[in-house]
């Protein structure tokens, strides 16, 4: 009944419930809001895991930017209510079966390959160490990702621009 346990279970239940709201909601704007809340609770989980920098970056980028982009796109593409043309029952069942299959496979692996319980209260690498890592061991992915971001920025602007 530790604080970590309560926080973990609360956040885990919230994450799963909100993720279900994302994929099952008829109204796509509500899905976007549920996505923001899901990403927020995942950031909470990172905080429980003592990864402060990743949690704050998750909030800053995912909730602050990606979800805002998604909401802009929802507003710019009109129809909000998902209208079912023909019954989608087969597709839902098939997708559900596949998802359940993958979930079972992953869970079996998780239970079989369980590692040590981990050091309680262990503090992960600080921001300083992450920064130093970015400049030493991980400098190549860092530079590549910056080029990728530049390409994505230019590409998104070019693709979404009105012709003429």
């Amino acid at each position: 009944m530790t604080a970590e346990g309560i926080l973990f279970w609360g956040l885990a239940v919230a994450t799963v419930a909100l993720a279900l709201a994302v994929v099952l909601s008829r109204n796509i704007f509500h899905s976007a809001l549920a996505l923001a809340a899901t990403l927020g609770s995942v950031a909470g989980l990172y905080l429980v895991l003592r990864a402060e920098f990743v949690a704050v970056v998750q909030l800053l980028i995912y909730v602050g930017a990606v979800v805002t982009l998604v909401i802009f796109a929802v507003m710019l593409t009109g129809r909000v209510q998902e209208t079912l043309r023909q019954p989608q029952f087969n597709r839902h069942v098939g997708a559900g079966g596949l998802a359940a299959l993958i979930f079972v496979a992953l869970t079996i692996q998780a239970i079989r390959a369980t590692g040590p319980a981990g050091v309680p209260g262990a503090r992960l690498a600080s921001v300083e160490e992450i920064g130093r890592g970015f400049m030493t061991e991980w400098v190549l992915p860092f530079e590549v990702v910056s080029v990728l971001l530049l390409a994505a920025l230019v590409g998104a602007v070019v693709i979404a621009r009105k012709d003429g």
């Binding site: 109204n27 509500h30 704050v56 805002t68 507003m75 921001v127």
Partner: protein
């Protein structure tokens, strides 16, 4: 009387009392520490909200005197209870929800905006020990939480089923997102000098000189961006009455409108508090208690913000955005570059 000087002593006493209770009740050792943090955070949030109420009155008085008139004078001494009277009026108004509005978004938007505005005070140090949590990544946390307000504004704009609200919401979101970037980059100069992202350590690093003398350009950029983040004039097009009939909060009445209103003043206070902490030495100062210095500096910055509002005309949205992207952003990058070079050499 020493608790007047170091208000944190009050919280220490509360923590001791809670620890005593927890020992007797057999709770785990973490409980009183967590509870004392929650109490500190709640007291700070409460103070900030009270402060927002005070700021509404102060703005009316300042704007009045700048315009050679008197402002509220009847309700209480020089109208100081005017905000409370306005609050009571707003609370008893009918809560009108537009017929085709998206009820969930319309209902939750003020909540998201005010939560986003208030959460920043978890990390801001009001005194040497007067803070709720000392996050390793305090500076980034404040900016992350400010981003939550953007979603609230989009929800308000979309959920009101009103084209003025939608336009106001989109413009506000564009403005808030754009101005976040030069704000973060200008603060990075300060972070480079101090070598830490934690707000309490940043205040401690200003023991000899305030960072405003090392980073004047950074301070100016940060101040302008925090004005834009709080939707304050001259950047208040999204909610300008003469342009968009109220922008994203057109369709809100009663308590929900007062939430938006208070959130704007809270965001203004956040910008001023961050500016104080990062550039003006936080709670540092001789003689007076630290929290008094913090409040003096923050309110000083807020006074300048109010001064801007009643002096400058409003920016158009395209002027606003091009000012950000074509001037402030390159300037902040140059500032960061020069700071980095100076720190390195």
């Amino acid at each position: 009387m020493t608790f007047l000087y170091d208000l944190a002593l009050v919280f220490d006493a509360a923590r001791e009392a809670l620890s005593g209770l927890a020992m007797k009740a057999g709770l785990p050792w973490e409980a009183p520490a967590l509870a004392s943090k929650i109490i500190t955070a709640s007291v700070l949030f409460g103070f900030v909200n009270l402060s927002a109420i005070f700021l509404v009155w102060w703005e009316r008085k300042i704007s009045a005197h700048m315009q050679s008139r008197l402002g509220p004078m009847r309700v209480g001494w020089h109208g100081i209870l005017q905000t409370i009277a306005d609050g009571i009026k707003l609370l008893q108004k009918e809560d009108i929800v537009p017929s085709e509005a998206d009820r969930l978004a319309h209902f939750l938007a003020p909540l998201v905006v005010i939560v986003g505005a208030v959460l920043a005070y978890v990390v801001i140090p009001f005194g040497p020990r007067l803070w709720a949590a000392d996050l390793n990544v305090g500076v980034l946390y404040v900016f992350a939480v400010t981003g939550l307000g953007v979603i609230g504004i989009l929800m308000a704009g979309w959920g009101s089923n009103n084209k003025y609200s939608l336009l106001g919401g989109l413009r506000a979101a564009a403005q808030l997102l754009s101005y976040e970037i030069p704000m973060v980059v200008s603060v990075l100069g300060v972070v480079l000098i101090a070598g830490t992202l934690s707000l309490t350590k940043l205040v401690e690093a200003q023991s000899r000189t305030w960072f405003i003398f090392y980073q004047p350009v950074g301070f100016c950029i940060f101040f302008l961006c925090s004005l834009a983040e709080a939707n304050r004039a001259p950047f208040d097009l999204p909610e300008a009455e003469s342009e968009l009939t109220g922008g994203f909060h057109t369709e809100y009445s009663g308590l929900k409108f007062s939430m938006f209103f208070l959130a704007e003043y809270t965001a203004m206070f956040t910008g001023a508090a961050m500016g104080t902490t990062l550039f003006l030495g936080g709670w540092r100062g001789p003689l007076l208690p630290p929290w008094v210095w913090f409040l003096i500096k923050s309110y000083g910055l807020i006074f300048v913000m109010m001064w801007f509002r009643w002096t400058f005309p409003r920016f158009r949205i395209d002027q606003l955005l091009s000012f950000c992207w074509k001037f402030l952003l390159p300037l902040s990058f140059v500032n960061l570059l020069v700071t980095g070079l100076v720190v390195l050499l």
